[in-house]
Amino acid sequence: MTSPKRLSQEQQRSLERRLKAGDERALGELFDLVAPWILGLAFRILRDEDEAEEVVGDVFVQVWRHIDQHDGGRGPIIPWILSIARNRSLDALRRRRRWWRKSAHVEQAHAAETGDIAPAAPHEAAVPGWPLHREVHAALATLAEEQRRVVLLSYFEGLSHREIARRLHQPLGTVKTRLRMAHQKLTEGLRHLKDWVE
């Protein structure tokens, strides 16, 4: 098995500094580092390779133009980029839902979206950030099944509390409680990822 590639905190800061200085080569390095994860996340949400690639393009445009908005003191750059990728993907998903509401395609996608999420295959271990992937999965695995479900619906589908309650046929208060407890556990479980250090 290929040994996992990692990124030290200092490398991450250096990359951020170079991006802020307008170093175009740093953009290419950032792509090599996070594009697989952005593409994976976008594909997980959109279930469409072309749309996912479009999201990757949008994310890099936004990162390159607004890198100054990222406050390095508030955390690493990678989660910031992932949050952009998630928002862009959910925007695309909502646009698609609006326009293709009655399409069978949506039903098909819907069936896929409600499925659980499995860890990546071991051959992907060469992708930078692989250890994080495993850490996050491990943290998710500590949640009860009903908590994990609401987290996935909220994160990957961008559903509101009310929409999740409707989808799961559960009271709104129950959904809120499960989400709150899940977030507490995840925050606790992922606290050591504050800095992505070797």
Binding site: G22, E24, L27, G28, F31, D32, A35, P36, W37, L39, G40, L41, F43, R44, I45, A52, E53, V56, G57, F60, V61, V63, W64, R65, P79, W80, L82, S83, A85, R86, I117, A118, P119, A120, A121, E124, V127, G129, W130, L132, H133, E135, V136, H137, L140, V151, Y155, F156, H183, L186, T187, L190, R191, L193, K194
Partner: protein
Amino acid sequence: MTDWLGMLAAPRTPRRELKGRVVARALARRRRWGGPLAAAAVITLILGGGAWWAYRTIGRLTAERDGLVTRVQALEDTVSTFIHGPATRLIQIPVSTGGRVGSVTIFADSARHRWLVRCDGLAPNARDQAYQLWFITDRGMATAALMPMDEDQPMVMGLEMPRADQRVMGAAMSIEPRAGSASPSGPMVFHLLL
């Protein structure tokens, strides 16, 4: 912290050509705005600099104009006082300097003990020389003014007459060293007893 949840999804290896496309798109977006922004910044800088220069220049010229207006008014007052004063005496002295014929006109106001002197047609001085005007008093020659003249143009000046205990009996003008002399030593331009 939940932003890390994005790492839950399995990574997908991008197609080989995606990197070039994405990076080119991101850079093009910044470059597309970079040109016009830089041009706008330069234009703003030029306009701002021009406006600042104009503001400074107008201010300087206004101050200069105000100064000249004040000076002209003062001269007008002085001339008017001399010309129309009941105790003013007008003396016009033809002079010849450097082969040219000119004149020195004196408005002598004995009431205010002031003279207004206008010189016309005097030849410009040599570099190391100057015209020096003298009061002829009952105690001897007293310097009235030193007038280095480098250009061929009229000269007007107001002069205070010597102290009350000296009686002014006439005027004289000589050519002296540029720093002036304590008593006339050079060629005399005119010497006139009033």
